[in-house]
């Protein structure tokens, strides 16, 4: 592909624990799976686009665009164009979804800003759906060849994996072409407890569209791999899919995985049991038997996984990237009227962050959330930050908000202590007031704010109420089990999902409705991954799926009702005790759905190790067994 490179393998990672061979030698069973995931698009409903405006008076360009990482984009653009960052303002207003696709520095934005400066005018670029499919970024074009050693009790001893990711023609910025293969290498062990691990993970350049992160990055496919492996092994041992997971899930915390990641406390076993209980496996098996007598094929599939989330710069630095994202900063000020403005570097585009961060700040300051304004998505208005991706914003930006609110609260309490003649430690902030604990002596916080600005002679330190805080955690692991019941029409190969259960644990739920919304949307994208969506090229490299008539995201008719059961493990890995939840739905759903299809078709003995499992692929397998 590239003259400079000797091979098309442009990124490679490998590791091997010393006891691997011995583990395979003492294995009672060695189970192999060869997994293929077809290429997908994140397909935000709003395609990419931007408007670049030259300002004659200041010589600055303002780029208003549909992106997830405004600060990073500004840096990338300034570097590419050899211009000072101060001459560029990037605004990402209400962005119509991103899911990873909009966190790249795309060449189109470079051209747009270059043209605005050169022509000294304003101009816009708005892509259409066709261009979005052709050029925006793809993902999930991966293969996993895995050998697994199990002992006689069906306990996993070792994994030996060969992972290949088609990363397209170029490397994405800033996360690079390593994002899929290197994440797959580190996180393949998932929620399972085993000690010996060997992996070779390669990113292969091809003449296709660039790969970039898409919700879950490699985890939907690595979870698909591990969960197909578990079901295949369960069959080999003649045990139930729930039982094999029960025997292998992580139980002790903190847990260091075979690849060296440290997992904080979670509820791996509990979510599995909860999902199995919600389904009522025994009752389902009876129904399945009955249905088969009538020529109807029902199946049940499980998928357990961990979701590494909210990780900061130390985790990114371990990937040896040039650009190391991670921290988030918030600048918070209470104005003289007692309202709070928090400027954040994260950049929400549908995650409801304005609501949840306002809740965290309101809790910290004893104010109602209506008095909190969150400002985001404008490099002139917000501190440098990394935007919104990787299930990080509520954890990291939320942590920064909590720290800044605490600092601001201390200053308010200090002022109040002078006025109320009480020690600052005895002051609590509740219901808009600073109150001496256990008394009715209180003063309105708004009054304190006024004094902080307008009677600064009464206040120690700098006038006004302003604090900033940065949070850069090591990360946390959310976890969940998904369970799906499907019905397969053997005549058409059509799959209908009859039930979908999610038992998930993302720590404290700051806003349950928003968490549920994230799970719903993720599951829908995971169902798409399992059944419908596939980017296709012809042999000449022409894209065949160029419209929403060829590439098939699910509609309300295909997505079933999603039942959610919450667990709230309170780990010390984050200061809010919240874990990330943005990607989990997309990570768990594909494996649950495909495992359910395989279960439904078990009378025919067909297996699926490739997704999406389209009607054509189902019919093909059924024809093969017929023949």
């Amino acid at each position: 592909m590239h003259d400079a490179g000797k091979s098309n393998v442009i990124v490679e990672g490998a590791m091997r624990t010393p006891g691997l061979d011995a583990a395979f030698k003492r294995a009672a069973q060695v189970v192999e799976v060869d997994i293929r995931s077809r290429r997908q698009s994140a397909m935000p409903l709003e395609p990419r686009g931007g408007h670049a405006a030259w300002d004659e008076a200041s010589g600055r360009v303002t780029l208003t665009c549909s992106v997830q990482m405004p600060h990073m984009l500004r840096t990338g653009l300034a570097d590419a164009l050899g211009m000072p960052e101060a001459d560029l303002r990037v605004i990402a207003p209400d962005v119509g979804g991103g899911f990873g696709q909009k966190m790249q520095l795309f060449p189109e934005y470079i051209v747009l800003v270059w043209l605005a400066r050169r022509l000294r005018r304003r101009l816009a670029w708005i892509e259409d759906r066709h261009e979005n499919f052709l050029a925006a970024a793809h993902a999930r074009d991966q293969r996993y060849a895995v050998r697994a050693a199990f002992d006689a009790d069906a306990r996993l001893l070792a994994i030996d994996a060969d992972i290949r990711c088609n990363v397209g023609a170029y490397s994405c910025y800033p996360t690079t072409c390593g994002v899929e293969p290197l994440m797959a290498m580190a996180e393949l062990p998932g929620p399972y407890d085993f000690r010996e691990y060997a992996v070779l993970a390669r990113g292969v350049a091809t003449n296709t569209c660039m790969m970039a992160p898409y919700r879950g990055v490699s985890r939907p496919v690595l979870t698909f791999t591990m969960e197909r492996l578990m079901d295949t092994a369960a069959k080999r041992f003649g045990i139930d899919p729930v039982e094999i997971r029960r025997r292998n899930l992580i139980r002790k915390f903190p847990y260091t995985s075979a690849s060296g990641l440290v997992y904080d406390e979670g509820s791996y076993l509990q979510t599995l049991e909860a999902a199995a209980k919600a389904i009522d496996v025994a009752a389902f098996r009876r129904e399945q038997q009955q249905a088969r007598k009538q020529g109807r094929y029902l199946g049940l599939g499980f998928s357990s996984f961990s979701e590494r989330s909210g990780y900061g710069s130390r985790a990114f630095a371990a990937r040896k990237m040039d650009i190391v994202p991670g921290y988030e900063t918030v600048e918070m000020a209470m104005d003289p009227s007692g309202y709070v403005v928090a400027r954040i570097g994260a950049s929400p585009h549908g995650q409801g962050l304005r609501t949840t961060l306002a809740q965290i700040i309101a809790d910290g300051l004893g104010l109602s959330p209506e008095r909190i304004r969150i400002v985001h998505g404008d490099t002139d208005q917000t501190p440098y930050g990394w935007g919104t991706f990787a299930s990080r914003s509520l954890v990291i930006s939320g942590g920064a908000c909590k720290l800044a609110a605490e600092a601001l609260g201390k200053r308010i309490a200090a002022i109040a202590s002078g006025m109320l003649e009480a020690s600052a430690a005895d002051i609590e902030l509740v219901e808009g007031q600073a109150r001496v604990k256990g008394t009715d002596k209180a003063i309105d916080i708004a009054r304190i704010a006024r004094i902080a600005y307008q009677q600064s002679n009464r206040v120690e330190g700098v006038p006004g109420l302003r604090e900033s805080a940065t949070y850069d955690p090591d990360g946390t692991f959310s976890n969940a089990t998904h369970a799906a019941i499907v019905e397969v029409d053997i005549a058409t190969g059509g799959v209908a999902i009859r039930r979908f259960v999610v038992a998930e644990d993302a720590g404290i739920l700051v806003n349950p409705m928003i968490v549920d919304g994230q799970v719903h949307g993720g599951v829908a994208q995971g169902i798409a991954n399992a059944l419908y969506e596939e980017i296709k090229y012809d042999e000449q490299g022409n894209l065949l799926t160029t419209s929403l008539a060829d590439y098939l995201p699910p509609t309300a008719a295909e997505v079933p009702e999603i039942e959610i059961h919450h667990f709230e493990t309170l780990s010390d890995a984050t200061i809010t005790k919240a874990k990330g939840v943005g990607e989990g739905g997309a990570i768990g759903a594909p494996a649950a759905v495909v495992n359910a299809i395989v279960d439904a078709l078990s009378p025919f003995g067909v297996e699926f190790f490739e997704m999406p499992v389209t009607p054509r692929r189902i019919r093909q397998k059924l024809r093969e067994v017929d023949a």
């Binding site: 709003e46 962005v95 119509g96 409705m513 919304g517 994208q525 419209s547």
Partner: protein
């Protein structure tokens, strides 16, 4: 080929004088000529439904209709959904329900879903749940998995029926 022609569009009860090529579609005319950017374009080929508006009360994909074809008809967009009162805008029951039930995340599909649902519920207040789901499956949302959109539309349907009594 594309000599501009002059015509009038009636949108949300207001007349807009348009001068545009005959091939200008309704969505572009609404956004660019009328300045009503609430109508969104997710595909421009009639699949996603983000551009749905009401033309004489019926849901229409504005990307598939020429603006000039809407001449002499009443066009209703998301900007015309809330009720304008002296005390400020009062959200339409659908808008209120989308808010209360978290029926939107990024909000890009929302105007299309609101107008689709408004058209359907105004024409068929007694529509069954299954039929409603079927109708709503003509629009795409990438964020919500449709769960809360369905909840919101069902809640709004009940509220609209209550008010009609």
């Amino acid at each position: 080929m594309s000599e501009p022609i002059a015509f009038t569009l009636k949108v949300n009860g207001k007349d807009y004088a348009i001068r545009a090529p005959a091939r200008r579609n309704l969505a572009d005319a609404l956004r660019e000529d009328c300045g009503l950017t609430g109508t969104h374009l997710g595909c421009e080929h009639g699949v996603c439904g983000a551009c749905t508006v009401l033309v004489d009360g019926k849901p229409v994909r504005a990307c598939l209709m020429f603006a000039v074809q809407a001449q002499g008809q009443e066009v209703r967009t998301v900007e015309g959904l809330a009720e304008v009162t002296d005390a400020g805008d009062v959200l339409h029951p659908l808008q209120q329900a989308f808010w209360e039930h978290h029926g939107l995340q990024c909000g890009f599909c929302t105007p299309g879903f609101l107008m689709l649902a408004a058209g359907v519920l105004e024409a068929e207040p007694d529509i069954s749940d299954d039929e409603l789901k079927h109708v709503l499956s003509s629009n795409l949302c990438r964020c919500t998995g449709y769960q809360n959109i369905l909840k919101a539309v069902r809640a709004a349907a009940a509220e609209m029926k209550k008010r009609a009594k």
